[in-house]
C-alpha cells in the first residue's frame, strides 16, 4: 500500500495534493472519495499536481488521493479489435451496460474481457531460447487478424513451459521463461505506459505507398506505410470525411481511429457504418481490424489529452507483431488545446497563443512514434505505424502554432481549402498548396506495379494545374478575349483534371474508392484526350468546339461509372480519340 495524500486545491480538471512524497511523474492516482482516475503531471517537494480524467465537481480539499505506484498505462492483449474506448481506455460499450446512456462519473471497467477464452496455438517449445519480441504463440483475434503473443522486454531466456493448443483467458499463464534474473510467467495480457514508445530493433526508410483509393492523394500527394501526414482545414472543409475514407480504404492491416475532442455523432456514425462495411481484401467487416478511441468534445478534457497516447500505444503494439497500422487522429488541435487548458490551470508561462512552450516537442514526439520498423524478435516481417493527423486551425488560418509546428514534422501536407468546399469540390484538397515528400519515393512502385509513364503523367498534370493558375491571373488582369486558343485549351484541360479526376465524392457508392489500376486507366484516357485535343487545336479547331465535343461529358463519367459499364465507357473513350477532330465551321 502506498502513502495517501490530501487534496489542497481544485480548479477544474486540475487538483493539487500534499503528502505525495515518493510518487513519480505520470503516476496514476485515485482522487477523492469517489476515487476518480488521475495522473501526476507536476511534482514539487511533496506536493503533486494531478490532472483528473473525470468531472471534478463536488471534490473538496481534505479528501484523499491514493497512489497506485503505476504509470498511466493501457492493457494490451487479444480483444482490442472491434472495441471502442474512451481516452483512458475504458470500454464504452461495457460502461454503457452498467451506467446507462449517459457516462456517469467513476464508471470504470477493465479494457479487455478477462473471462473470455481464446484459442491459443504455441509457436515455441520448451528448451527454446527466446528474446524479447519473439512469438510465443498466436490466437485468432478476429477472422481477419492473427494476434501474436510476444516475449516481453524482460524475457530473454529459455522456455520452461508453454501452453498447449487450448482455450485460455488472457490472465492464465501461457508460458514460463527462465531468465538470468529468475523465472518469469507470461500471460496474454500486458500493460504498457502510454507515454513511453515501445522499443523496436531499428527504423527503416518507408518506401511502399499506403494506397487510399482517393485519387488526389494516391496520385499527387501520396502517403507511405510508416509515413506521417497532416490534414489542416477550417471547419466543414472535409478533414473528418478524409480520415474516415482512409480508415475504410487504406491498405493497412489495422486501423486505430482516435476521435479526439470531436463530435459524438461522428463516432456513432463510425460505429453504425463500419460493422456493415467489408474490407475489400479480406471480405470481413472493417470493424474487426479496427480500434476506436472516442473522447468527444464534451468528455473530460484531461482524458482527451491522454487519448492520443492511448491510441498510438495500441498501434505500436500491433506494429510489433509485424503489421501495418494506420492511426487517424481527429483532431490534433483539440489535443493541443487540452494541453493548453491544463497548462493554463497550472498557471504555466504561456508560449505562442497561450499554448505551453512544450507544444512543439509534444507534437514531434507523437509523430516520431510513426515509422517503418524492424520489430524486436526473430520474425522477418516489418511493421509500420502511419499517422494521419487532422488539424483545426482557428479561423482556418494556417499560420497558427499547431499547424506550423505540425508542418515542421510531417512529410505530407493535405491543405484543405474553404473555397473549394464552398463550391462542393471534394475532397477540398488544394492542389497548389499541398505536398508530399514521398512523391518520388513511390514513383518506382507505380511504374513497376501499375503502369509505365505514371510519373511523367503525374508531373504533367501538376504543370497543367499550375498553368491554369497563371492564365486565370492573366484573365483577371486583361480579360478573356485575348487568350490564344492554346491557353483556352489549357483551361479546359485543367477543368477536366479538376472535375473528372481530382474530384471524388466520398458518399458515391462506386467513386468512394478508386483502385490504383483504375487511377492509371483514367489518367491514360485523360491524356489520350489531351493529345487528341491538342492536335485538333493545332489544326485549327477552336477550344470551344473541343469543349462541346461529345467526348467531354464521357470523361466526367469515368469516376462514378458502375463496374459493369466501366469497360464499355473506357473503350468508347479510347475509340473516340482515335478519330481526328474535324473543325466544324471555322468560327
Amino acid at each position: 500500500m502506498y502513502a495517501q495524500g490530501i487534496i489542497t486545491r481544485v480548479i477544474g480538471p486540475v487538483v493539487e495534493a500534499s503528502g505525495m512524497g515518493g510518487s513519480t511523474m505520470y503516476e496514476s492516482v485515485r482522487v477523492g472519495d469517489e476515487a476518480l482516475i488521475g495522473e501526476i503531471i507536476i511534482l514539487q517537494g511533496d506536493i503533486a499536481t494531478i490532472q483528473v480524467y473525470e468531472e471534478t465537481s463536488g471534490i473538496t480539499p481534505g479528501q484523499p488521493v491514493q497512489r497506485t505506484g503505476q504509470q498511466l498505462s493501457v492493457e494490451l492483449g487479444p480483444g482490442l479489435l472491434g472495441t471502442i474506448y474512451d481516452g483512458i481506455q475504458r470500454p464504452l460499450t461495457v460502461i454503457r451496460g452498467f451506467s446507462g446512456d449517459m457516462i456517469t462519473r467513476g464508471s470504470t471497467a477493465p479494457a479487455l474481457d478477462h473471462n473470455r477464452r481464446w484459442a491459443f496455438t504455441p509457436l515455441v517449445s520448451p528448451g527454446d531460447t527466446v528474446n524479447p519480441g519473439d512469438r510465443l504463440g498466436s490466437v485468432t483475434e478476429s477472422t481477419s487478424v492473427t494476434h501474436y503473443i510476444l516475449v516481453p522486454p524482460e524475457g530473454d531466456g529459455r522456455i520452461l513451459t508453454i501452453a498447449d493448443t487450448k482455450d485460455y483467458t488472457i490472465e492464465e499463464v501461457i508460458a514460463t521463461i527462465q531468465t538470468d534474473r529468475g523465472i518469469i510467467k507470461v500471460s496474454m495480457v500486458r500493460r504498457w505506459p502510454v507515454r513511453e514508445p515501445r522499443p523496436i530493433q531499428r527504423r527503416r526508410d518507408p518506401k511502399e505507398p499506403l494506397i487510399t483509393g482517393q485519387r488526389i492523394i494516391d496520385t499527387l500527394f501520396p502517403l507511405v506505410k510508416g509515413g506521417t501526414a497532416a490534414i489542416p482545414g477550417p471547419f466543414g472543409s472535409g478533414k473528418t470525411v478524409v480520415q474516415q475514407q482512409l480508415a475504410k480504404w487504406v491498405n493497412a492491416d489495422i486501423i486505430v481511429y482516435i476521435g479526439c475532442g470531436e463530435r459524438g455523432n461522428e463516432m456513432a456514425d463510425v460505429l453504425d457504418e463500419f460493422p456493415q462495411l467489408h474490407d475489400p481484401r479480406t471480405g470481413q467487416p472493417l470493424i474487426n481490424r479496427m480500434v476506436l478511441i472516442a473522447n468527444t468534445s464534451n468528455m473530460p478534457v484531461a482524458a482527451r489529452e491522454a487519448s492520443i497516447y492511448t491510441g498510438i500505444t495500441i498501434a505500436e503494439y500491433y506494429r510489433d507483431m509485424g503489421y501495418d497500422v494506420a492511426v487517424m487522429a481527429d483532431s490534433t488541435s483539440r489535443w493541443a488545446e487540452a494541453m493548453r487548458e491544463i497548462s493554463g490551470r497550472l498557471e504555466e508561462m504561456p508560449g505562442e497563443e497561450g499554448y505551453p512552450a512544450y507544444l512543439s516537442s509534444r507534437l514531434a514526439e507523437f509523430y516520431e512514434r510513426a515509422g517503418l520498423a524492424e520489430p524486436l524478435g526473430k520474425h522477418e516481417k516489418l511493421g509500420s505505424v502511419s499517422i494521419i493527423g487532422a488539424v483545426s486551425p482557428p479561423g482556418g488560418d494556417f499560420s497558427e502554432p499547431v499547424t506550423q509546428n505540425t508542418l515542421r514534422i510531417v512529410k505530407v501536407f493535405w491543405a484543405l481549402d474553404a473555397e473549394l468546399a464552398y463550391q462542393r469540390h471534394f475532397p477540398a484538397i488544394d492542389w497548389l498548396m499541398s505536398y508530399s515528400l514521398y512523391s518520388h519515393t513511390v514513383d518506382s512502385w507505380w511504374e513497376e506495379q501499375i503502369g509505365e509513364g505514371w510519373s511523367r503523367k503525374k508531373q504533367e498534370m501538376m504543370e497543367i494545374l499550375q498553368k491554369e493558375n497563371e492564365i486565370q491571373e492573366i484573365i483577371r488582369l486583361v480579360g478573356p478575349e485575348t487568350l490564344p486558343e492554346e491557353d483556352k485549351l489549357a483551361l479546359i484541360e485543367a477543368e477536366i483534371i479538376r472535375e473528372s479526376y481530382l474530384m471524388q465524392f466520398a458518399f458515391h457508392p462506386v467513386d468512394t474508392f478508386c483502385s490504383p489500376k483504375k487511377q492509371s486507366l483514367m489518367l491514360s484516357a485523360i491524356f489520350a484526350f489531351f493529345t487528341w485535343a491538342r492536335e485538333a487545336v493545332a489544326a485549327g479547331v477552336s477550344a470551344s468546339e473541343i469543349r462541346s465535343s461529345p467526348i467531354f461529358p464521357l470523361l466526367s463519367r469515368m469516376g462514378p461509372v458502375p463496374a459493369e459499364e466501366e469497360e464499355d465507357l473506357f473503350s468508347a473513350l479510347f475509340a473516340a480519340v482515335k478519330e481526328p477532330c474535324i473543325p466544324v465551321r471555322g468560327n
Partner: protein, 466 residues
C-alpha cells in the same frame, strides 16, 4: 436546513463577477453558493476554484452592491440543479429558472444537475429523419435532421429571428405525428426581440408546448452562463424521459461567450484569441453536444443556436468555434438582405453535415444528393462569373458563361427567395431546382446521374422568366 451548508462573512476580494472568500473549510468544486448582500438581497453563485481555506466564487446577477465586510456567503453543499415536471411546458422563466409568468414554482417530479453528463457515444443513434422546414434553401440544400445541431450565423440587423421562428413554426417530419416541444433560451437579446418570439409562439399556439428561459439585455450578464444549460437540461428531460421531439432555439450565443470572457478576464486567465478563454471550445461543446438521439428512446433534441458574427466575420472565435462543433451552419448574407431577398441565406458557406444520411430514396427523393451537388457547383460558377463581369463587363464571356450567370440570378430569385409564411414541400423544392437547372445545357449537368436527368429534367421552355 442542509447540514452541509456553512455561512461565512469573510469575503476578501471582489473583482468583476468574482469574489474570493477566505477562512473556509471543505468547500467543494462547483458547489452552489447563496450570497446575501448588505441590503438583504440574495444572489446565486458557484465555486470556480477551491483551496483548503479559500474559495473563488462566480456570482450570478453581478457584484455591484457587494462589499467585503457585511456580505455573507452560504455554501449550500449542492450543485446547480433545476426542478422538472411535465407541467413545465407552457411556462416562462428568467435566465436562472425563476418563473416570471406569474405562475407558481414548478412542483418537481425530478431534480437534475444542469451540467448533465456526456452521452456515451455508443448510445447515440445516428440522426437520419429529415425535418421538412418548408424552406427551400434548408430542405433542398442543407437538410436539417432530427437530433442535429445547426446554428444560424447572422449579423446585426439580419432577419435571423424571423428565420428561426419560421423553422419552429413549419418544422415537421412527414408522415409522423409525434409530440413536439420548443425550448427557447434567450441570452442578452432585447425585449423587442424576445417579444417577437413570444408573439409568434402565441399566435401559432406553440406556446403551450414551449418552455421559455429569458435573460434579456438588461438582465445580469453572468446569468447567461447557466441559461442555455437550464434549457438543455429541460430538453433532455422532455426528450429522453418523456419521449418528445424537442427543438431548442438559443439566441444569442455571442452574448453567452461575452459572459465567459468576462469571467476569464476577472480571474486574470491567460486569454486566447481576441480575449476569449482558451477553454471556450470545450465550454461550447458542453452545450452543443447535448443535441442528439439515443438508441432505443423515442425522443430527440435538435438545436438551432443563433449567433451574431461581430463585423460579419465568420472567422471570429464565436462562429469559428461554433462551426467546429456543430453539424453545419446556415449563414445569412448582408448582400442578399440588402437586395431584398428573404431568407438571405448565402448557400456557399452553408452546410448540413448530417444531410447525406437524411436524404435520398425512401427519405426524401432519389435525385436529392445529385441535384444539391449540381446546384452548388452551378451557382458557385455563376457567382464567380458575375464577379468577373462586375470588373470587366460581358465581353469575352461565352454564351455558356452567360447562361451560368443567368442561372445564379434566377436561382436567388426563385429558389432562395420565399415568403415568411410560405411552406414548400421537399418535392416542390427539388422540382423548382430542376426548373432552374433547365437554364443550362443538359451536358453541363455533370454531377447528376444521367438516369435522373432523364426522369426529372424539364425543358427550358417550361422555365418561367424571372
Amino acid at each position: 436546513m442542509d447540514p452541509h451548508a456553512r455561512t461565512y462573512t469573510t469575503v476578501s476580494k471582489v473583482v468583476g463577477p468574482i469574489i474570493v472568500v477566505d477562512d473556509v473549510r471543505g468547500v467543494a468544486y462547483g458547489e452552489v453558493v447563496e450570497i446575501t448582500m448588505p441590503s438583504g438581497r440574495k444572489r446565486l453563485g458557484q465555486v470556480l476554484e477551491t483551496e483548503s481555506t479559500r474559495a473563488v466564487v462566480q456570482v450570478f446577477g453581478g457584484t455591484r452592491d457587494l462589499d467585503t465586510d457585511r456580505t455573507s456567503v452560504r455554501f449550500t453543499g449542492e450543485i446547480m440543479t433545476i426542478a422538472l415536471s411535465p407541467d413545465i411546458l407552457g411556462r416562462v422563466f428568467n435566465g436562472i429558472a425563476e418563473p416570471i409568468d406569474g405562475g407558481e414554482e414548478v412542483i418537481p417530479e425530478e431534480i437534475r444537475d444542469i451540467y448533465g453528463s456526456p452521452i456515451n457515444p455508443t448510445s447515440r443513434e445516428p440522426p437520419h429523419d429529415p425535418i421538412q422546414t418548408g424552406i427551400s434553401v434548408i430542405d433542398g440544400l442543407n437538410t436539417l435532421v432530427r437530433g442535429q445541431k445547426l446554428p444560424i450565423f447572422s449579423g446585426a440587423g439580419l432577419p435571423h429571428n424571423q428565420l428561426a421562428a419560421q423553422i419552429a413554426r413549419q418544422s415537421k417530419v412527414t408522415g409522423q405525428e409525434e409530440s413536439f416541444a420548443v425550448i427557447f433560451a434567450a441570452m442578452g437579446i432585447t425585449y423587442e426581440e424576445s417579444s417577437f418570439f413570444i408573439r409568434d409562439f402565441t399566435d401559432t399556439g406553440a406556446l403551450e408546448r414551449a418552455v421559455l428561459f429569458l435573460n434579456l439585455a438588461d438582465d445580469p450578464a453572468i446569468e447567461r452562463i447557466i441559461t442555455p444549460r437550464l434549457a438543455l437540461t429541460t430538453a433532455e428531460y422532455l426528450a429522453f424521459e418523456k419521449g418528445m421531439h424537442v427543438l431548442v432555439i438559443m439566441t444569442d450565443m455571442t452574448n453567452y461567450c461575452e459572459a465567459l470572457r468576462e469571467i476569464a478576464a476577472a480571474r486574470e486567465e491567460v486569454p486566447g484569441r481576441r480575449g476569449y478563454p482558451g477553454y471556450m471550445y470545450t465550454d461550447l461543446a458542453s452545450i452543443y453536444e447535448r443535441a442528439g438521439r439515443i438508441t432505443g428512446k423515442p425522443g430527440s433534441i435538435t438545436q438551432i443556436p443563433i449567433l451574431s458574427m461581430p463585423d460579419d466575420d465568420i472567422t471570429h472565435p464565436v462562429p469559428d468555434l461554433t462551426g467546429y462543433i456543430t453539424e453545419g451552419q446556415i449563414v445569412l448574407s448582408r448582400d442578399l438582405h440588402r437586395r431584398g431577398i428573404y431568407p438571405p441565406v448565402d448557400i456557399l458557406p452553408c452546410l448540413s453535415r448530417l444531410m447525406q444520411g437524411g436524404i435520398g430514396e425512401g427519405l426524401t427523393r432519389e435525385d436529392h444528393a445529385d441535384v444539391k451537388n449540381q446546384v452548388y457547383s452551378a451557382y458557385a460558377l455563376g457567382i464567380r462569373l458575375r464577379g468577373l463581369v462586375a470588373v470587366m463587363g460581358n465581353e469575352g464571356l461565352s454564351s455558356l458563361e452567360n447562361e451560368y450567370i443567368r442561372f445564379a440570378d434566377l436561382f436567388e430569385d426563385r429558389f432562395i427567395r420565399q415568403d415568411h409564411n410560405e411552406e414548400r414541400t421537399i418535392a416542390e423544392t427539388l422540382d423548382r431546382a430542376w426548373e432552374l437547372l433547365a437554364v443550362l445545357p443538359q451536358e453541363e449537368l455533370k454531377r447528376i446521374d444521367p438516369a435522373f436527368i432523364k426522369k426529372y429534367s424539364r425543358t427550358a421552355k417550361e422555365t418561367p422568366d424571372a
